[in-house]
Structures are given as C-alpha cells and as structure tokens.
Amino acid sequence: MAHESPFHQRQTPGQLTRREFLWQSGGGLGGLALAAMLGQDQVRAEDGPSPGQLHHPAKARRVVQFFMAGAASHLDLFDYKPELIKRHGQPSDFGEPVEAFQDGLGPWLRPLWDFKPYGQSGKMLSDIVAPLGAVVDDLAFVHNMVGKSGVHSAATLLQTTGFQLPGFPGAGCWAGYGLGSMNDNLPTFVVLPDHRGFASNGVKNWDAAFLPSQHSGTIIRPGAEVPIADLFPHPSGKFITPASEAAAQQLMAGMNRAHAATREGDQRLDARIRSYELAARMQLAAPEALDLKAEPDHVLKLYGLDRGPQAWPKEINPEEEAYHFSSKCLTARRLLERGVRFVQVWSGNDNSFPRRNWDSHEDVQRDHGPLAHGMACGIAAFIKDLKQRGLFDDTLILWTTEFGRMPSSQGGKGRDHNPYVFTNWLGGGGIKGGVTHGESDHWGYKPLERAHPTLVHDIHATLLHQLGLDHTRLTFRHNGVDRRLTDVHGHVIHPLLA
C-alpha cells in the first residue's frame, strides 16, 4: 500500500522533517498556527504537500457532536412506530430468536410519548423533544444505524473512535490532526462532559491514543470551579501574583533562549518557548470564551438561561437538565465561534444508580423524560443561535448515542439494549435538511433493509468528507497498520448531502 497521504506520518521524532516536526509538536494550537508563529508560514516546496491541505473543498469547517450516554431510545424520541401503539401490551414476537442484554423481551411497549408532525417535512417527533420541531426541517435522520455490540463500553468506543476497544483516537482528534487549528489561543478539540461525570470509558472516548497528544480532547467544565485543568495556579500556589507571573514569563523566556542559543538546530527548544507564550494567551482567551454572562439577554433567554441556576430537587428533573445542557450548548457555540474546530457535548454519565443517563432498563419515562427535554431545549436553541449568526451552514451537527432500545418492555416500564438498530441525526455543514435516510423495520427492531444498514463508519466517513477530508487517506501508522478513523470500512452517505 502506498502512503501518499499528506497526513501519513511515522512516529520517530528523530527522523522528522522540519514540517512534520512542526505538525506533530505544534501543540494544541495546531501545526499551521505554530509554523506561522515560528516565522514559517510558507512551508518549503521540497517538503511536498502541506499538512492541513484539504483532499477536496470542505462544506463544514467545524463539528459539534452530541452524545447521549447510556443509549437513547430511538423509539421514544425520533423513530415513530405506530405499530407499537397498536400492539402495545401484546406479547412481543420478533419472528426470530433475539439475544437481549438483560433478556428484556417483555410485551411490546408503545412510545412513552405521543408523536406529532413538524415542519414542512412533516417529520414525526415525540412530544418530549417537541422543541426540536422548530428546526426539524434542517435535520437529516438516519434510522437504520446498527452497532456491533450491546455492551455500553464497547458500543460507546465504537461510536466515538470507530473501534470497539480502547486505544484509538476520537473523531475530534482525527479532525484536529487532519486540519489543524483555526485559532491560536484555544484548543482544537473540546469536550464538554456531563456535569455529573464521565460516561463509559472516561477519557478514552476522546484522547489522542497513538496520535500526538496535543490532539486529545481538552475537557472543559462550564460553570465548574476549575473549568480547565491547570489553566491557573492551584490554590496551593499562594506565592504567585500577577506581577510575579509576568516576571516569571520574562525570566524563563530569557533563560530558555540563552540555553537554546548554545544548542543550535534543536527546534524543540524554540517550540517549547513558544508553547509558554501560547499558554499565556490561552489564560486570557479561555475565561472570556467561557463567560456566558457576557451574552445579551435575548440570547440567554433563547437558551432558557435567563434565570440562572437554582436550587434543584434531588430527583432528576426537566428544569435542571435543561439548564445544564443548554449551558453546554451555549458554551459550545461560543467555542466554535472562537475557532474551536470540534466540540463534543455529553448528556448523561456512567451506568450507576440512581440513573443519570439514558440507560432506561427500569423506567424510560423517569430517565428519558428529563434528559430528552433538556437535550431538545438546548439543541433547538443552539441551532437557532447558529442560524442567526450565519454559523449553521458550515457547522456540522451530529446527534448520536451508543445504540437503541428494544421495542419490547423490560420490567413493564423500561427497555433493554438494542444494538440492532438505532437513530442518528445530522444537520448543518452541507447536510440536506428535512430528509430521512434509512428506515428501521415496523417494530424499530432492526433495519428495514437488513442488508443495507448504516454503520458508524459511514457517519464518520461523511463527517470527514464534509470537512474536506477523504476518510481513506487520513491515516496514521501505528503498530504496523495505517490506522483510520473508519478502520477498513465506511462509505460517504451521499443522499444526506445537500
């Protein structure tokens, strides 16, 4: 196999060209930004094609991925199945033996909420996600997604990294690796975890694995005491003052330059000096980017954030979910606007009790109700906001989850895992609005056309395609394999493209 990809790199720091070095060591701020700062904005011709050069013209410049941890039910939110309403309560019969994760094969269970048509497309949406009705004509639904495993951890990794086992870079890492940064004071890939904690696999869903570590997702916790790790001195460093900080930067720069002056030809020494300058810039830029109070009232109102945090009940409740999720959506918009390329927003944390994620084995209404309400309020506001700012057209939105849930009931009110079919939807970034590509069968149990399901690799291929990247050519050699986000699979879903 030839390695003509401009992104193909070996891992041996000793043997890098200057260009490769800049690219790999360039910091979270991206190779091109750093190259520019080092006075190398024009890459020398003999170095060949420039990294960051697109494979084809891009339709999207940035991505936001919404991830519903625990597995959100397609049946209760987006994938309308009148047959289930008709057959509600009857013994389920799938016409074939079914393996369910917890053997939850009780009677058919109708959607927990009613569905109504929205928009010109007349797309049927569940009442619980009604706020999305206002933007439904901008969305493209894929109802025939299939997974490979009904185990949360493996399924989550598959959706985030394209592989079922840990040790592979997240989609956002690949985007940053392929395209570099669009800013010089914020990370390229930001993760906004659920405020209660991480989902299955923790940071493995977004870390760079074998890609250079600066491509890892940077965790930002809006509203938390320390929103970005180590952005400012730990409280134990009381001896640091603004004056000492400025003096320290100056002293370090001087001493480091003197050190480098006697060690010519080692670009790492210069790059490290610059990384401290960039860090100082991030210290200024990040708090500004995260300051939601700077938003005008009408925007806060759009997101339902005009009333600020309150004392919430102990039980999971729709108001609190809407507040937290909308805060993350607004933070995401501010970050995207400031040149962050990829933002991943999580709803729900791990599979502990009481449920604070979408893994509704016991009671769909109890968990999905508040979570879906919060998600729908936040995303609807986010899309309207992007549109009013002209950001929607070149921002790709992907809504995804681990897998779906069974059309049969579990314990009367819950649903078991359904890796056999589930829903994704996309919008913006050159995606055709108001369409549905791929249907599930009349139960929502498996794809209608079983031989032609949609795989996460197809979604990933499409995502990279919209960013101007060919998923088969965005590679990195690791342990003897030229690894791709899409493994050896994936086809761009052309019917979804505008």
């Binding site: 060591s25 991480f198 570590s213 460093g237 001493m255 010519e264 960039l278 342990n479 394999v481 030229d482």
Partner: protein, 988 residues
Amino acid sequence: MKSLRQISMATAAWIAVLQGMLPMAGAASPFEDTVRPILEKNCCSCHGPEKQKSGYRLDVKSIALTGGEGHAPNIIPGNAAASPLMKFITGADKDLIMPPKGQPLSPAEIETVRAWIEDGAPWPDSASVPVNDPLDWWSLKPITKPAPPTLPLAAHPIDAFIQAKLAENGLAPSPEADARTLGRRLYFDLTGLPPSPEEIGAFAADSSPEAYARLVDRLLASPRYGERWSRHWLDVVHYGDTHGYDKDKIRPNAWPYRDYVIRALNADKPYARFVQEQIAGDILFPDSPDGIEALGFISAGPWDFIGHAEVPETKTDGKIARHLDRDDMVANAMGTFASQTVHCAQCHHHKFDPIPQEDYYSLQAVFSALDRTERKYYRDGAVHARYQNLLRQQKQDVEALAALDASLRTKAGGALAALESDDKTVSIPAHGYHSAMAATEGDVKWVQVDLGQPVRIGRVSLLPCHDDFNGIGAGFGFPLRFRIEASDDPEFLAGVQLLPQHHGLTFNADFKNPGLTRFDTDGGKEEAGITGRYVRVTAVKLAPRQGDFIFALAELQVFDRAGKNAAQGRPVMALDSIEAPPRWQKTNLTDGLAPADPAALQREREALLLAVADEATKAQRMALVASTASLAAELKSLPAPDSVYAGGIHQGTDAFKGTGASGGQPRPVFLLARGQVTHPGREVRAGALSALTFAPARFPLPPDAPEGARRAALAHWLTDPRNPLVWRSIVNRVWQYHFGHGLVATPGDFGRNGALPSHPALLDWLAAGFRDGGGSLKTLHRQIVTSATYRQAAMGNAAAEKIDSGNTLLWRQNRRKLEAEAVRDAVLAVSGKLDLTMGGPGWQDFVIERPEHSPHYQYGLADPGDPKAWRRSIYRCIVRSQTQPWMTSLDCADPSMRVDQRNESLSPLQALALLNNGFILTQAQHFAERVQQERPDLPGQVSRAHELAFGRPPDATALAPLVDFAKANGLPAMCRVLFNLNEFTFTD
C-alpha cells in the same frame, strides 16, 4: 501432515497482496489465449495486481489454484462442478455472485472457464505473475554473528559498526560530551533520577580512566535502575491498575507483577527466563513465586468488566468480549516479545507480512483457557514451594478418588445418575423474589404467598438465593432478622399467628447467613395448631448488598401436615418487588426452582457410592478421603495466601464462569471469517508463526494436553536460540531507550510496514552476543553506554544535519526530552521530598467517588501536599478510564494500548501543567525550604537550587537575574521557574 500442508497453502495465499510485476508478454498456451482474457476482463480488477479482495487473485497461478480464504481452493483442477469459482461466476449461490457488480460472464465465457477447469486447469508457469517471496524478509532470517568492521580508531565493537557507516556517508562522530553532561545523561538514562550536586561533582572531578565504567556499574547495581527500566517494560505490555472500559474498577493485586518486573531487572534475570515466566511461569517454574507473579503479563491490558461479568459467553456479545480479550493477550505476547503485528491477521491474512489468519487463531488457542483473574500464591518462596507441593498431592488424591469413584459409579447406576443429572445447579436463571432497594437496613419488607384456602401448616421453608452481584453469591439477600406469620387476612391485620419455633433465632438476634442451606421452621409442637391462608415473611433487618439493603428469597415453601408443599405455584404478594424477569420476579418465589445446597448433594452422593463399594474399596476410599482431609487441613494451616491479578483459570459463576468448571480446558478456537464470532470456521490448534521454520508452526501436542502445555510450548518457541525475532526485538528496544530511537525505528513492528534496520549487522551482532551470553540486560546496557557512540555530545552540526537530519546514523547523541515519570521524579528528587520506599500497592493521587459501581477517579480532589504521593512514579496506581491528567499532558504512556515508543509533544496545555499544577507548586515550596536550610544567604540558595536542578552551578550571567527574581517574588516562585526551564526537561 495435513495441517502442515494447509498452513503452507495459507501462507501462499497471503502472497496475494505483495506487488507483482506485469504478466510476461506473448501468448503461447490455450490458457493465455482464451481463459486469461476472461479473467482479466471480469475478475482481475478486484483479484489482481491492484486489489486482492479476500486475499485472492486470479493472475498468480499459485494463489488462483490454492487461495480463496474460506472457500479455498477456489479452483479444483479436473472438477469444475466442485470448484467454488464456477459457483460464483454462474450465480448458483445467490449470496455470492461474481463479479458482484456490472456484467456477469456470458454463457460462452463461463463455458470456456468450465472446460479449462475440467481439462485440469493447465496454467503455464510463464503465464503467472511472479510475486516476491514473502519469507525473504530481514527479520525472519536467522541471526548472523557478523564480525565488527576493523577500524583502527574504534576499539569498541559498537563504535566500529557505527563509525564505518558514518564514514560511508561522509560523516564523522561528535566529540565526547563533557563529564557533567555525561554523568547527568547516565543518571537519567539508567536510574531516571538526576545526580545530586555531590555525586555529579565527584564524577566530574575523578580523572581516572575507570571513573566512567565505575559509575556505570554503580548505577546498574542501584535499585533505582530496575525502577527506571521497568517503566519502559510496562509501557510495552500496557500495564494498568484498573480494568478500563465501563465500570473501571481497581485491580487491587496487579502490583505484584510490576514489582516482579522491577525485581527481575534489578537481579538481571536471564532474558529467556524472563520471557518464559511471563508466558508460562506457573507451568515451567511452579515452585517460585516469580512464576506466578510474572503471569501478570498476560492480564496486564484492559478488561471489559461488563462484557465478561454481565454477559455470558453463550451470548454473541459475551463471545465478542472474550474474543477481544484473547486478541489483547495475543497482540501483547507477540508484539512485546517478537515485534510482530499478528493482530492484523484477525479478519484476513496479514496484508503485509507472511502471517495467515490461522497463525493468529493458533495463538489465540494458546491463551484460550485463560481469563484475567486472581491467582493465589505466596510471596515467601519457601511457603510458596510448600503450598505448591500440597496442591500437587491434593491433585493426585483427587484424581485417585475420581478414578475410584468412576468404577463405583457404574455400579451405583440410576440413582446416582438421577442425582447428578438433576439440574440443581447454583446458577438457575430464575433467581427468586427481590425487594426494592432500601437505604437503611432497618426498613421493613415483606413477601407472602396466598395458599388459596386455609392450610394447617406443617412447616415453612425458606430457600436462599445465589447471585454473584458484588461477589455475594450464596445467601444473597437473605435477611438478618425476620419473622414468619400466618393469617386468613391478606392484609395481616387480623388473626395473625406467629410461627414461634425459631423466632428467637431469627428475630431477636442476627441470623447467620445460611449460604444455600434451607431454613426450616421444622414443624414442631409449638406450630402444630397454626392455620392460615396466607403465609408472610417479614424482614426487619435487611441484607446488605452494595451501599444499600435488600430482601431476597429463592423459594418460599409451606408444607401442610401431609408434607405437601401448598405454596407451589401459588400467587405471591409483596410490599415491593423488583420485576426483572427471568432473574427476579415475585412469581419466582413459588416456582419450585431454588439453588441446591451443594453440601447436601455431596452427602447424598457419597452415601450412594459407598453403598455399592466392597470392603477393600471402602477402605481405600476412606484412606484417600482422610488424606485429602489432612492435606486440606495442612493447606488451611498455611497463612492466608497472597494474590496476584494474572492470566489464569478463572473459577467463576453466573455470567463470568471462566473455564474453571471444566478443569481449565481450553475453549475451542475457530478460524473466524472476517474476524466475526458469528462466523466460526474450522477449529485451530495451538501454535505460533508459520513463517518461521525452525520449529513446527503448530505445537506438537496431544489433543488432550493440558492448557499449560500450550503456553509452555509458546514460551519455548519464543526463547528458542533459533528464533530470529525475539533476540533482535529486545536488543533493539534497549538500544532505543539509550538513544531515543532504535536501530529499527519501529520497535513493535519488524514486518514490511515497519522500518528497515539502519545498522543490520550491528543489530545482529548485539542480538547474537546477548543471546549467547546468557541474556544479561545489564551486560547489554554496559556494552552500549560504554561505547564512544553513546558518549558523544548532543550538539548540532549544520553540515551533518544536511546529510542525516534525523541522526539515524548517530553522528551525535540525541538530546532527550524527559518522560513524564522522569520529570516528576526529578522534581521530587531536587525538592528533597522523594520517598524511595519500594514496592507494594500503588499510591493514589485521586479520590475515588462512587466506588460501588463505576468509580470516579477525582484527581482534583487529592491533596498535592499528601506525602504518600511522593514516591517514585513507577509505584503510581495507574487508572485507565481516567488517566492522570498531569502525567498524560507530559506524554505518559496510555495504559490502554501497547506503547513501543512514546509520543513526544510540546503544547500549551503541557506548559500550563508544569506551571500551575498543585504538585509543582507544592514541590516548589519544598524546594525553596530545602535550599533555605542548606544555604544561609539568598545567592547561595539560588545557586544551590540551580545546581540541584541542573547538575551545575549557574554562571554569573544566569545567577544575577535569578537572585533578582527571587528577591522580588520569593524563593518558591524562583524554584517554580527552574522546574519550568527547558534545561529541566531536556538532557543533553
């Protein structure tokens, strides 16, 4: 022999992917005139020089006639009807029509191909595309022992090899680094710690020619050496102290493996033994604790808790989890020891290297009996040897007893068979009734049965549940205190009669958990008059589960005076119930299903056996039983054993059974089409790589050989002196850590996708010497670091950079960026706070929240001032799902994947981590306090700090600004600056 032939055919098939040349010109045979044009037109775009779908191509004779993956051979000369190729092109198989798109072959074309196959598929060799010999690859060839080039100035053989190459390329070596630079380099390289100012000063002042060699010896003898180099090893084997994935729980006993590696390196254990212990130590060296602890290698990587503990291997998801688990073991073993990427042959033959899919699954078969589990042993070698000896005797007794019973069993006949076939296993799917969870143990819960009519009660029996949840098992949910009552009122408001007989035992005191032994009220006189339609069990002190409390029962039986169970199949009511069928639901309480009491079953079984035995057999049996009992007593008298998390036979229940129940018999391993567990092909035997011919590719073991024999065979295969991969792999790894890059730049991949050796002769010279000299790593280190090549300065040279910018040829030493651990340990060393305590459970710099389910590892909540985290980084508790953020920003190895070579990055987040993390700020203050104690005045303190941090006093131009800064901003702020300077992070 059949299997050997299959292997060679499979080997031939992978050739498919290697680029061939264009076909020879000039048609001269019927094949070339008629058949080949058809194949070229219709088939070769997917099965030819460009693409080789399914590893198959129709332009290479050998592959066309033998290959075809699951359908191979696709062409059977002389038998067109049986040839899969005909089936595909005629469309006989609707699911597999070739070509899959575009025009099908015309009837005339099909007839031409058919006639050709019928005719014996004659194919002149000249009409086949020649392909490269896949075995013609440097790493697969035997290791040679080349003589070093004779160079007058190079006394050291390594220098002779290196300098010859330099000269060939018009380069010259750099001069030797100065003593302070060299000393500092050596300290970090061999021990991962900086020298103290006194140590480096003494070395710099020692002008004797032996000074350097003495320092090397001293550092190699230091326990710090094993701590440093074990970290390199643990990177490669992806060691961690938690499982990873979802529910990322701590492995409390993973650390003995880490300590084993440190000890093995410090003791300079011969490499062959080191390898053998990690693959099959329990088999090859059972009496040594090392033989058990080393098996932590097999379990080092991540493990999917839910995929194993919550999904049985009868389900597809469970099969996938176990398949991926073995995949990790195989990739770890072959990547670590042999630098091979066999994991690429999981779905198809390796695309670049001569590794057929069958090799990969043969390696899975080596590990197929194993799971990641706790293994008992004794860290004390003498006790361990005694323990192993007792286990061996016990095994003999058990086998003798089994043989004896086998003869009795036939005599015992039907009754015993009935007893044993009775499906009363512990893990019945219908567990029983389970109350809702309660927050306190004092909550009251009840469950009752409606007998349909008033029944005069003989006795009431409660049968306990079995559920492995939270490791509880037998007696799950059995209440600590309860009462049993009867009434004709379903509400139990009127006419309530207490069954008093054991009330004192179960209500007034805590009732000891009965395990699986049934609880009976025994129907004594006191209860003789009690009658009622409803019988209710009320738990007043619940059973602990996991931070919560419950009441669960497998079965409630109410026997009437005639001894009939009147509750059988009757409706059940409860205050509350978790309805999660089939495991938990109210109706399970009267379904007649409950786990049997194993002790009672055993007693019945013994009685039946002894009834048919003659006197001599009885005596023999009694002697064996007595011997077993005395061995058991002796084993019991041993102190509580230690435990290590390692590869082993798992004795489990419920979903995670392991192979313990089958006595550790290997699971059958099948060749999986496209790597899918739902598509098993033929079963494969245990083996290794067929591309290496020094030993048979499949281990010559009898089919009933115990699983350990497979691992022992792999251990011997790996460490065979004729194995060309293993010896080259390790010397290359060691070289890499000394120079920053290996002689082969891809230490984990010696295949065609990897790099070629820059100095093949040197690599072989090192490998052969290492192998033949007893596999001493310390000798190898000494050899390397005493070379002039190693001792060169690390300074740039514009002219040399033009020729070899990457310094592949080593015209200088490489400046090294310290790894995360070295930075951290160096900070502690210079601050004076480094705690050199060795071994034991890993220190934790996080607070665990919600440990009962999915632990949250909260690094932010840990106190950076807590001295327990001031030990060396090698002893850190390594979490997979939430990697230590500070270490991760410094490119620490990711414990979820094998790291042959660390990434090296520079980012603003790294700068922020070194500037602002609580660890750095706390240590900056300790550093300041230290120098304040050691020197009286500020300039002295600054100078001392500089010397501690960099191994040299500051020159005058550096001292003044540092002192000024310290004056204005305090000494801790100055110390923080030192930690952040480039000179702290890079060693020359």
